[in-house]
């Protein structure tokens, strides 16, 4: 099993040099992406095969650390994430077969793309600290290369720079964590780490380190700063992978270390995870609401979903620590299911954004509008994505959030009072973020696809190519299926929870009408299929009845708009004006949002001006000072470059005297 997975990774790695060689030729992009598609599909199959029945398999190669070797292992958890990674990879490749044709600098994308996929797969497969971190950082490196693919734009370079620094930070922190786990004599093998037992204190430190390390990659607040810069900068299919898949690989890292390697958690470990999860969810979506760059909005929204996932994981920790296995299984399933769901619809949305970018050359929603007329199919799939990510039934986003809520509703059974009070508050945050997410995507879809075109670019937009559409249609189909038949996917996760928690949610497939029942039917149950069928039926019945019995006549006319004459598209609601009420409610405190209106006096002919000022307090509080300090230190120390020889000698002399003094005393 693991061998076939590794050979797949090998194939991907081999594709990179091939890409370097082929890059001159025309068909290169098609060829590379097509082969990536095939390989990733195979890898998906491998993952599925392992998840359904195949036993855990592991292998050790004479690579990596000399006396340790490189160990790889394919267990249920890895298999699940292999599936997530490669579904994302496959669809991205399919999308890119069309998208890549119009890539301005393929020679900077093609070589790194397969390597990037390989890196993500390797992280999931690695079974010793060294291989894990190597793959982890390799993943960051290749994605960095993809981020700076369009290096002529200054901000892309900046984004890449911040990204690389944060990645380096994360890796070093994880390095600390493994240093603690492996101990002094450096047994970096996951197997031996599992057997070694740390006391709760050390475990807590490791947890914090992992939260920092994996969290910075996943984009938890306040370590998210790089994410909205880097994800949009990359080519869209790569953005999809970074946002939809790589953040999930980071989640994998967290789950692997905290749930698998650390052994039995202490109940209070869950507190930071839950708190951070809740804050991340709300902050992420609030940031997203303030954006008018489509891809950046999506990137910020990834932050929100990461928060939701971490809420699930935190609950799982709490339940596990208190030995409430069933509840823990439920919470973990919720988290992991959301991992899968988010990877699906976030990729879908980024593809949509990419299609729009290709068709109009615009990422700024203020310059879009009315695309539903020009690109109906893209609009449709994008709409599906929006509904799914807004956690609305009958799509998949709702299922995982619903399960999370169910898990939260089990919290009163927790003995510890801190959690009794924390969890409902987190629940409130989760609810808030869900509602805001809906608002956010009404804005995203409404402003860019509905209404009237705001620029010429938007009026001349053309529907995107069939490959891209195929990828997007596939993903939207997955969104629907996972929404109406969630039981299958929940059962898919059973082996994972079995390995990590020791038990799993009740078997869902057997239930009549394909309902899902987290704990007991008397508690709660949900049936996406029936809801879907109901809505579809009643809607069509209504339509049929009305058209048959009442009128079905239609007359086209100018918009009514309270009787105002047809005004120019500029009078439409823009993204920022759509966000204005929410900005006034939340933004004034979170972003110190200020609206400066400059209205000329009556009779004056100069135009009126209205500007909105937003401040990113997190950046100002955490990141700007660090940069300032480095600058300061660099400038201060730089004096030492310009001393005279005598002064340098004085330095040497004083060091000598100092050391002699040390000896003398």
């Amino acid at each position: 099993m693991v061998i076939s997975a590794l050979s797949g990774v090998m194939a991907l790695l081999l594709l990179s040099p091939i890409a370097v060689l082929l890059v001159a030729s025309q068909r290169a992009s098609t060829l590379i992406y097509a082969s990536c598609l095939i390989v990733t599909l195979l890898l998906t199959a491998v993952g599925g095969e392992c998840l359904f029945g195949q036993p855990t398999s592991s292998i050790s190669l004479p690579l990596g650390l000399p006396w340790l070797g490189a160990h790889f292992r394919l267990d249920a958890l890895s298999a699940f994430f292999i599936i997530v990674v490669n579904i994302g990879g496959a669809t991205a490749s399919l999308f890119a077969i069309g998208y890549g044709e119009r890539e301005s600098s393929p020679q900077r994308v093609l070589p790194f793309y397969p390597a990037y996929l390989a890196g993500m797969n390797l992280v999931v497969l690695a079974d010793d600290a060294f291989s894990f971190l190597l793959a982890w950082e390799f993943m960051s490196l290749t994605s960095w290369a993809l981020v700076v693919a369009h290096h002529q734009e200054r901000e892309n370079l900046q984004a890449g720079y911040v990204y690389l620094l944060m990645a380096g930070f994360g890796t070093l922190v994880l390095l600390f964590a493994f240093g603690l786990l492996a101990g002094n004599n450096g047994n970096y093998l996951f197997e031996s780490i599992r057997t070694a037992h740390l006391n709760a204190g050390v475990g807590a430190i490791v947890l914090v380190l992992v939260l920092l390390g994996a969290g910075s990659k996943a984009g938890i607040v306040p370590l998210h700063a790089w994410l909205p810069l880097a994800h949009p900068a990359a080519p869209s299919h790569v953005s999809a992978l970074m946002s939809g898949v790589m953040t999930k690989v980071a989640v994998y890292g967290f789950v692997r270390i905290v749930f698998d390697l650390l052994g039995m958690p202490a109940w209070w470990w869950s507190i930071p995870v839950l708190a951070i999860g809740g804050i991340t969810a709300v902050m992420g979506v609030l940031y997203a609401l303030m954006q008018h760059d489509l891809k950046r909005l999506l990137a910020y929204h990834t932050v929100e979903n990461i928060g939701i996932i971490f809420i699930g994981l935190g609950l799982a920790l709490a339940f596990k620590a208190h030995g409430m296995a069933v509840a823990a299984a439920l919470a973990l399933t919720a988290g992991l299911l959301h991992v899968f769901n988010h990877s699906v619809f976030k990729s879908l949305l980024f593809f949509g954004a990419g299609a729009v970018l290709n068709a109009t050359g615009e990422r700024d929603m203020e310059h879009l509008g009315g695309l539903i007329h020009r690109m109906p199919q893209t609009a449709f799939v994008f709409l599906v994505g929006c509904v799914a990510i807004s956690a609305l039934p009958p799509f998949n986003g709702f299922v995982s959030e619903w399960l999370t809520f169910q898990a939260i509703l089990l919290s009163p059974q927790l003995p510890s009072w801190g959690l009794k009070f924390l969890v409902p508050a987190v629940g409130a945050l989760l609810a808030l973020s869900a509602a805001l997410a809906a608002a956010c995507f009404v804005k995203a879809f409404g402003v860019s696809f509905l209404g009237r075109a705001r620029t010429a670019a938007a009026t001349q937009a053309q529907e995107t190519d069939s490959n891209s559409l195929a990828a997007m249609y596939f993903l939207s189909a997955v969104c629907l299926v996972a929404g109406v038949l969630p039981g299958i996917f929940i059962d898919m996760l059973a082996p994972v929870t079995n390995t990590l928690i020791g038990t799993s949610m009740p078997h869902q497939a057997g239930l009549d009408w394909l309902t899902i029942v987290p704990v007991a039917e008397s508690r709660s149950s949900y049936n996406g299929l029936l809801v879907f069928v109901f809505v579809a039926m009643s809607g069509s019945i209504a339509a049929f009845a009305i058209h048959r019995l009442a009128s079905d006549k239609i007359r086209r006319g100018p918009a009514w708009d309270c009787g105002y004459p047809d005004s120019s598209p500029i009078t439409q609601y823009t993204a920022s004006s759509f966000a204005q009420p929410i900005r006034r409610v939340y933004g004034t405190s979170v972003f110190h949002a200020r609206e400066i209106g400059d209205m000329p006096p009556p009779g004056a002919t100069r135009p009126a001006h209205f500007t909105v000022q937003l401040r990113d307090l997190i950046w100002e509080a955490a990141y700007a000072p660090i940069g300032a300090f480095v600058e300061y230190a660099a400038t201060r120390l730089n004096v030492l470059q310009f001393l005279t020889i005598r002064r340098y000698l004085t330095l040497v002399f004083s060091v000598l005297v100092l050391l002699l003094l040390v000896l003398a005393i």
Binding site: W417, G427, A431, S522, R523, S525, F534, A542, Q572, P581
Partner: protein
């Protein structure tokens, strides 16, 4: 045999709510008029309006998309399904388990999602005002609603409406502060959700003050009819939820016979009548508030909900 009966009952429920929704609005309007010393429209006026709209042709804006035409049906269907899954006169209906309270709220949320999109579709400024304010209100109302659900679910140990209703009737639940808070919050939320005074004025035509109406400004004919019907259904939904959770008496148990069902129906209609009167009285007694006072109002609801949840622990009954 029983399956057929269950199907029949489910069907009855669907038709019943469809029939009762305009009536409830009618009641509210009549009572309001009377309180204002006006004659007021006849009770069946809402039905007339709907019928008239149905027969009229639809006038579509030039750049209205296909989405604009689909949305009314979606909104209507979503809301209708939501209402028909609430136990009104009988608990344990056939499909009652397909969606628990959270799912129902989410169903309404998706209806609102599409309605907001419709507001943006034609590309007019008023539509924009409407939908942006609508989502702002929703962003506060939904969390509040979910906190209420938490409170109730923690009391009852379930989010399944019919189970909750049954549990409430069983009288196992004593009088609780939390429940009181929850009820209060629920009422506030329903007022906000249904665009009633003081949040929004359903009968206003002063553009800048309207939320829901501005959103559907471009609709006409059968589309408008469906949307009106949907909003009436939504109002009915909240009233029925309040009814079956806080005044559950009279609801027929799953095993109840025809008699019980008849009692259930009667009591349900009675509850609606009372609710309508109360709502009307409330609406006439206060004035509409500024849009940006709404957050405070709903924030209060949210706090009440959260408070209710926390008080549960303090009362230590769990």
């Amino acid at each position: 045999m029983s399956v057929i009966r269950d199907f029949a009952l489910q069907g009855t429920q669907m038709l019943l709510v469809l029939f009762l929704a305009p009536l409830f609005i009618g009641i509210v309007r009549v009572v309001k008029a009377r309180l204002l010393r006006r004659q007021g429209p006849p009770l069946i006026q809402p039905y007339r309006d709907l019928a008239r709209l149905m027969r009229k042709e639809v006038v579509l804006a030039h750049n209205a998309s296909w989405l604009f035409r689909v949305i009314p049906y979606v909104v209507f269907a979503g809301t209708w399904v939501a209402v028909s899954l609430v136990p009104t006169f009988r608990t344990g209906l056939l499909f009652s388990w397909t969606a628990d309270l959270i799912a129902l709220i989410a169903l309404l949320a998706s209806a609102r999602f599409f309605l907001a999109l419709a507001g943006l579709d034609v590309g007019t400024s008023f539509g924009g005002i409407g939908s942006s304010r609508e989502v702002m209100i929703a962003s506060l109302a939904e969390p509040a609603m979910l906190m209420i659900v938490f409170t109730l679910a923690l009391v009852v140990g379930s989010t399944q409406l019919s189970v909750m209703a049954a549990h409430m009737t069983s009288g196992a639940v004593g009088l609780r502060v939390s429940l009181g808070l929850a009820l209060l919050a629920l009422i506030m939320v329903s007022i906000a959700e249904n665009a009633r005074i003081p949040i929004d004025n359903p009968t206003t035509h002063l553009e800048l003050t309207m939320v829901h109406e501005a959103m559907v400004l471009e609709y006409s004919g059968r589309h408008l009819a469906l949307i009106d019907l949907a909003s009436e259904l939504k109002l009915l939904f909240y009233v029925s939820v309040i009814a079956c959770l806080f005044v559950p008496w009279g609801i027929a148990p799953p095993d109840g016979g025809i008699g019980a069902i008849a009692v259930g129906m009667a009591s349900y209609v009675a509850k609606l009548a009372v609710g309508g009167v109360l709502l009307a009285a409330f609406e006439t007694s206060i004035a509409k508030m500024r849009v940006f006072r709404v957050p405070a109002f709903l924030g209060a609801a949210l706090m009440l909900g959260l408070l209710g949840t926390l008080l549960l622990f303090v009362s230590g009954s769990l």
